[in-house]
Symmetry: C2
Subunit: 391 residues, 2 copies
């Protein structure tokens, strides 16, 4: 429950120099002679509480890093705080304080247990930032702030942790959505799996926007923002050490800018959702069920990259059920579909957007697909487990 506190004072590394250091600290003029100086980034900051700095090359997480005591304070000061630094985090309390803009807020949370932790196109760090930003954005909201809760396994290399936390910090900075508060727990070796990260986000919904899963109506168009299946295939190929001629990379990305452009162009959007676990097929079923409608999609309209399609064939996967981390589904009134498509294609993350079908009346709430061969089949919910620990 200790938060990521940012020490405010310039102090020494050696406990034996505390007295000297204190004078420097009181005079607020700088660091002790011969000691590293504090920097705004905190990266070279030293702290009287910690006689030795963490060994970020050879060191590992141990149980004391979750104790709430000095070791945890050091992990926060030397790993988390420099990588994630922002003024709200720097408040150093167990909570972050801010004044949100007026209006409706959304809140969303997402745990990340992906294996492997590092994969082509990303890692658990940036994924945990993108995933929650996207869940917030799918209400049409502008994400404001994130929190992050870590569960670390004893023995996890500190260099990997640092790499992950830096990736989070970079993703958060690139997205303009700071991580303002956090928490760290440590479990014994064999009681976790390296690192799990649960992020929570809040965002503000522009006036006049109402986007929700139950608002799809017959006659609405169904759009997808790009090719599907990249993330899941990237993870599986890494996990199984499959070498494809072309490396397939995760599409992990923060979609809030794309959403902002979409909402500005077509405020009448009814539904947005990111097809992560369960893929496009399951997400469409969720929306059909929630709205009490059916859906008709056309296979030939659904963008799938050639290499993903080939990999899926090889691996026995159906790309419709493979997870994505940088794509969204949009449902809007049919007459606004072309405008929405244009807005999506004008954004780098929506360049391959397509209208893939329409919402229909169907008391069974089925998602049906016209296949390439002209037939029709029901696209059901994902049953069982196609790819465990995909996000």
């Amino acid at each position: 429950m200790i938060a990521y506190s940012r020490p405010k004072k310039t102090t020494c590394t050696g406990l034996e120099r505390l007295a000297d250091c204190d004078r420097a600290s009181r005079s607020r003029t700088g660091s002790c002679p011969g000691q590293e100086s504090i920097s705004r980034s905190g990266r070279t900051m030293t702290d009287q509480r910690f006689p030795l700095r963490l060994d970020l090359k050879q060191g590992a997480v141990d149980m004391s890093h979750g104790s709430g005591g000095r070791a945890m304070a050091q992990l926060i000061a030397e790993v988390f705080q420099p990588s994630l630094e922002n003024p709200l985090l720097a408040q150093g309390n167990d909570q972050a304080l801010f004044s949100p803009p007026p209006g409706r807020l959304v809140m969303s949370t997402d745990g990340h247990v992906i294996s492997p932790l590092f994969f082509p196109g990303g890692d658990i760090g940036c994924l945990s930032v993108h995933g929650t930003i996207n869940d917030v954005a799918m209400a049409g909201a502008r994400p404001l702030y994130l929190s992050a809760g870590f569960v670390l396994e004893e023995g996890f290399p500190l260099r990997d942790l640092l790499r992950i936390v830096r990736s989070m910090g970079e993703a958060a900075q690139a997205a303009g959505v700071p991580i303002v508060t956090g928490d760290t727990k440590v479990v014994e070796r064999g009681k976790g799996d390296g690192v799990f990260i649960t992020t929570t986000g809040i965002g503000v919904v522009p006036d006049g926007i109402r986007i929700s899963g139950e608002l799809a109506r017959p006659g609405d168009a169904i759009l997808v923002s790009g090719s599907i299946g990249d993330h899941g295939v990237a993870i599986l190929s890494k996990r199984e050490n499959l070498g494809f001629a072309t490396e397939i990379r995760s599409d992990t990305a923060a979609l809030h800018d794309l959403v902002a452009a979409m909402v500005a162009a077509v405020p009448e959007i009814h539904c947005l959702r990111d097809p992560t676990r369960g893929g496009l097929a399951t997400t469409l079923n969720e929306l059909a069920f929630q709205s009490g409608v059916g859906m008709q999609i056309r296979e030939e309209r659904i963008p799938v990259a050639a290499e993903v399609s080939a990999a899926c064939e090889l691996l026995g996967l159906d790309p419709l059920y493979v997870a994505n981390e940088g794509k969204l589904i949009a449902i809007c009134p049919g007459e606004r579909a072309e405008s929405l498509l244009s807005a999506m294609r004008a954004h780098p993350l929506g360049a391959e957007s397509a209208i893939i079908g329409e919402v229909v009346e169907d008391p069974m709430h089925f998602v049906q697909m016209e296949t390439r061969f002209g037939g029709s089949r029901i696209v059901d919910w994902l049953a069982g487990e196609q790819l465990p620990r995909i996000c």
Copy 2:
């Protein structure tokens, strides 16, 4: 990333009855003949998506419950949703939408990895609700909403999960702070430890209140809201199967009502913090460091229950470093200390409150304690790990 969606329609258990059921659903008059009827609580709700109900007595979590597909939807519909139900959760999206009252907000997050999951006085479910409510309240805020992210281990008994989620729901309801959105992940057997829960909370800070860890000033009084060490000793005694003559119970409790009474009585409170991991000693050191002050406390003033004191002696623990889950430290101007003490003692959760010391000038930021025997010793940060996985 699927949220806890609450199906809105009355449907059948048997897929073979879908057609019949659909008629009932369309007429919105009730359930299928011979089928369980929908209830407002959702506890007896059936759903056309799930031909068989979960076996909540003998069943266990399997990987498919984290897949994002039908099995996960069923876990949500039959375990999470009925236990946590509230109108915001019922929105059924990947995020909850609400209009907070105007003003400054706080956000806090807390992971829970406690072992054992069930202990005298509580369980990981209510603990995960109380812990985050308390972190929000320690800014003087009124907690508004919580989110919950679960990491489940394959093989975890569904009956234990249900018990935990119900405990969360009850704690949230008792506190008046609903869990409005959530997420569930599943990891393979041996890659987790039953269940980890990360909760995040937001709250609103009353106008005119400014409570933060860096605001302690020399001359301020230090108060604690009751006897310390109960939680840690309760966990350890359960973990080690120690049988004390009097069962020691965790003090896990939501402190936001107590805080509201305190803030109403003494708006000038400078600091509030709950002494969880690391105990009273470490929390005081955090505050001293953050505020750049020293502290003088008196051992005889610190409330410790006789049985906790005896258990600590037996176990070689120092109660100053043992975790609490229902206590807080308050720092306020010295001249307001008696008023604050009266307000705290008037609340059931603060009946044993005490003034335990004062803030002093100390460039070393030491916490010093006058012992029972008249001596003085430095009370340092917790070094190393006294009790792993205490929360």
